[in-house]
């Protein structure tokens, strides 16, 4: 086997989709987790943290049952949108979203909590509603939390293996991501290519973490 750059394209597409979807979907949830004092919140919060501690194969196994054409979610998507989820790119996007959910949620929750509640109160007393306050006061003051969410989620999705393999298999150009390509190269004892794939992943991940740390240090100085 020779070096094939396509798994990088698939991984990047997956990373961009998962990060973008989670950024939008997680913000309202992170807001509730950070600001609500209701007792049921801790139960939901614990469920969303599960992917962090659960084996990816366990998550992948149940996702496969849910997303397969006979499963409740898979059959719904197939009949309504004519989209097959198991062993397809949309399927690994859903799987990637669930696997990376705690990374985005925790970063956004921390970011929201870092904004002093007095700033929100000040905005309300100036006649602004909650949505305007979120966009004009909260979001600009939690930039490092948002960046942490984007970088952690993207980097984690790039390295995702177990869940993606369970849901997507290894279809070249569709579901074969870099981590699966590394696994296959190692299996066929092609350590040279495996080194190239792994090396590029390490450089990208290090770049992301370095960028995040620099941003956080700069923000701390303010």
């Amino acid at each position: 086997m020779s070096f094939d750059p396509v798994p990088f394209r698939v991984s990047f597409q997956l990373g961009i989709w998962v990060t973008s979807l989670l950024l939008i979907l997680c913000f309202p949830l992170a807001w509730v987790f950070a600001r609500s004092r209701r007792r049921w919140v801790v139960w939901i919060e614990s469920v969303t943290t599960l992917p962090l501690v659960l084996s990816p194969t366990v998550l992948g196994f149940y996702l496969l049952i849910l997303l397969s054409p006979r499963g409740p979610v898979g059959s719904f998507f197939l009949s309504v949108f004519h989209v097959r989820l198991a062993f397809s790119f949309p399927g690994i996007v859903i799987a990637g979203c669930l696997a990376s959910l705690p990374f985005m949620l925790s970063a956004l929750r921390t970011g929201i909590l870092s904004v002093p509640s007095q700033l929100l109160d000040a905005s309300y007393t100036l006649g602004k509603g909650r949505i305007e306050t979120i966009f004009r006061v909260v979001v600009p003051n939690m930039k490092s939390g948002i960046m942490a969410g984007i970088i952690n989620t993207f980097a984690h999705t790039l390295g995702e293996f177990g869940v993606v393999l369970m849901i997507g298999g290894s279809i070249p150009g569709v579901t074969k991501v870099v981590s699966i390509a590394i696994y296959e190269r190692v299996e066929s004892l092609n350590f040279g290519d495996a080194h190239v794939y792994a090396g590029i992943l390490i450089v990208i991940s290090y770049g992301g973490v370095l960028l995040l740390n620099r941003l956080q240090r700069r923000e701390a100085k303010r």
Binding site: Q118, L119, A122, Y124, T125, P140
Partner: protein, 210 residues
């Protein structure tokens, strides 16, 4: 006429606190509320601002009812014509002095007018981190006046300043309030400050007007 009669039970950790305060103030007046730390001064301001939901009572500003537990009326802060100057000013750190005031006014002309009133025009492009305590206080005051409030609430606005600055800014506060003609409540733990600045004074002790 501002009339309030408020009762609220607050809990902070193991500490229970009951606020039970009533008073009325003529429109255009400046009421001073004095009391030691923990006497309920800030909680009372937060109830008047709509940031706390009292257990029972009422708040009436002129012909408007902002809160009435018997009628089930509760206006959130956005619907009350108020301006609140927080103890630590709560300026938006990502906005300039101009931006902070303009956030409240939504209007360039009114912002310029307030910058002049509070003598902040020369530092309008500065960020809060570049301001002195006195400049922050004036910015917070200008911002609180941005909506042309009927009631201005001042939560220990001079407490973070040194002695000399407290005196001069206290005078300036009087001037600005007189020029805007707004009804105001000033909360402070300093007896001198309250008696020097306010037309009417009440004292809070353990959540009750004494």
């Amino acid at each position: 006429m501002l009339r309030f009669d408020l009762r609220i039970h607050l809990r902070a950790g193991d500490h229970d606190f009951r606020l039970d305060a009533a008073h009325s103030l003529a429109e255009g007046g400046l009421l001073g509320i004095r009391g030691a730390s923990g006497s309920g001064k800030t909680s009372l301001l937060r109830c008047l601002a709509g940031l706390y939901h009292p257990d029972s009572g009422c708040v009436q500003m002129g012909e408007e009812t902002w809160y009435d537990s018997r009628q089930g009326v509760f206006f959130p802060p956005q619907r009350r014509s108020i301006g609140l100057v927080f103890q630590d000013y709560a300026l938006f750190p990502h906005m300039t002095v101009y931006g902070n005031i303009q956030y409240a006014t939504g209007d360039h002309g009114r912002t310029e007018e307030l910058l002049e009133l509070t003598r902040l025009t020369t530092i309008a492009r500065h960020f809060p981190r570049e301001l002195s305590g006195g400049q922050k206080q004036r910015t917070a005051l200008a911002r609180a006046l941005g909506r042309r409030p009927r009631l201005l609430l001042l939560d220990e606005p001079l407490s973070a300043l040194d002695e000399d600055l407290r005196y001069s800014l206290g005078e300036e506060l009087l001037r600005i309030r007189a020029e805007s003609g707004v009804t105001a409540i000033l909360v402070s733990h300093s007896r001198d400050e309250i008696s020097r600045l306010c037309t009417e004074v009440i004292e809070l002790a353990d959540g009750r007007v004494s």
